[in-house]
Symmetry: C2
Subunit: 333 residues, 2 copies
């Protein structure tokens, strides 16, 4: 097998030839056709992630065919087209992951490889309307977007939604999911090009979050919003409190702009707001997400596909956040 | 009638003799037996409340007997013992009050009087296990505590709860409600005496929030908590994020210590926390609260009862926050 291995920080991944994998107990070998990048992979290469271990094969997202299985119930998966739930050992509490929770791809060997070993419980049938590349674009971003919007955000049809910082995998899938669920959606970005793309995918309006009064404009054109999906935080967070309707929800799955420097609690209690944290998702979030994607025939947006050999180029692209949708890898030899 | 009237800021209320009230349409006259103070009354006298108007009779909480009614459906209330829902014109959205929402007692003439005019829709039967003083201690604090704990906080039996800053009306009723609902409850205060009182009323432990590691002590002795009811905010808010269990909820109905100077969003999303704002409550919150109080035979804690003539002394006591439970007024002539 071939794999892209993290051997040190702030350096390219090393492409290694390794011994082929063997199935073991309830774990099967999946021959990967496609993988996808997440911001998590980039953070790890920069040392900006807790508990980094070497060597490790990165990559949380993958789709392929089960190619080897031991003589166990897992053998029923042989030859089937699958995608992998990257959230392992969530635990028993639907409200939050337990302390054993791990995300596929460091320390567990991940999907930037031609093969991967996966416990059968994390295998799911590849949605039949998706090719391998589209399927690989789905798992971690789809899981995160689904939990943020539905499990935590309790999105209802007809509600008004803001997806801030459109462009990344989670945000673009959140846009697609929210539109499919019958919501009215607006987006923010600092890129006019990304706003134009979002509008092609169903957003009604887009606003430059560096604009002087984008909240006022959005309020006039679109109205206050019921649900905001944000991964930035930072100084811009206060604008979200302003744009939220009374009783509205703001779900954060990240804080790329750092912690908000002040929290206007008066606004929070007077407007009866709900500020909700969300990260990844549980096995039932993953199953529900797949059901939703199949039901609405959603196709994740793929920005670009590069060969596994070019994984370092793909990571470099992630650094600059120029993509709209997912960056994927072709893992076939 | 006699009434305590706000005529200027930072000055005692003026005790006035006024003409007796007359019923009008669906509004009846309630002969007040008892009233109670809320922090809101004190803030208004200090000019620290939006939309202050003169002259106004303060007071949101009252209990008494319907003494005059016009010939309308409201006449069926004649002679009945009542308490008054102080949250008027909430609107149609259970998630949040509408822009017409008003709290009884400025600008609407309130309960620091011997009589008050009340639309019949805000009348409720006085719980039969409460005397007038106890009944008057219930409305605004009970409504606020109920919505924070149940409607917004979704308290479940067996959950662990922290009520921070025990002593005031909302916090002491939240303690009583949470214990009655089968929760395990701890409290914080800077007063050892208030902590001792809280333990007499059912709290399992109490911690001085100025202590160096009260969160560590609470975690060891009691464990992380599912639901926190806070009205302080400020620098201490970060400790609440630490003490919250994964998936936990922190409900704020105030920010007496000011806005938290920073919000650790990383902790919020990694722990999947819900930070929820709550203020007052809707008519259905009020009805549910009364039902709960009747079912569990809860008696609000009354710190002290003063005659209506001594309302300024009562307000002065509120300034120093030394009370445990409600400060009430005897409104009988």
């Amino acid at each position: 097998m071939k794999a892209a291995v993290l051997t040190q920080l702030n350096a390219p991944l090393t492409l290694e030839q390794r011994e082929d994998l063997a199935p073991s107990g309830d774990s099967v070998v999946v021959q990967l056709h496609a993988a996808a990048l997440n911001r998590r992979d980039f953070w790890i290469t920069q040392g900006m992630y807790p508990g980094i271990q070497f060597p490790a094969i990165l990559g949380s997202d993958g789709a392929g065919v089960v190619s080897k299985a031991s003589d166990s119930p897992a053998a029923s998966w042989m030859g089937r087209e699958v995608i992998i739930n990257p959230g392992w050992k969530w635990g028993n509490d639907p409200r939050a992951q337990g302390s054993a929770f791990e995300i596929l791809g460091m320390p567990i060997d991940g999907t930037f490889a031609t093969e991967i070993l996966v416990p059968a419980e994390y295998l799911h049938e590849k949605p039949s309307h998706l090719n391998y590349t589209e399927a690989a674009a789905l798992p971690l971003a789809g899981l995160t977007a689904y939990r943020a919007l539905f499990t935590q955000g309790k999105l209802q049809p007809g509600e008004k939604v803001l997806i801030s910082g459109i462009g990344g995998g989670v945000a673009t899938l959140a846009l697609q999911f929210a539109c499919a669920a019958g919501a009215d959606v607006i987006v923010t970005s600092s890129s006019a090009e990304k706003i134009a793309s979002a509008i092609r995918y169903g957003a009604q309006y887009g606003y430059n979050y560096n604009g002087t009064d984008w909240v006022g404009e959005a309020t006039t054109e679109f109205g206050l919003v019921d649900l905001i999906i944000d991964s930035a935080g930072g100084v811009g967070y206060r604008s979200l409190l302003d744009l939220a309707a009374p009783g509205g929800r703001i779900v954060n799955y990240g804080a790329t702009a750092g912690p908000p420097p002040k929290l206007d609690l008066f606004k929070v209690f007077w407007k009866q707001l709900h500020l909700i944290g969300s990260t990844m998702g549980s096995p039932s979030d993953f199953s529900e997400m797949l059901h939703f994607v199949n039901e609405h025939k959603i196709k994740p947006i793929v920005d670009e596909t590069l060969p596994l050999n070019a994984v370092n180029e793909a990571l470099e692209k992630m650094r600059h956040s120029t993509q709209f949708g997912k960056i994927t890898l072709d893992c076939r030899d």
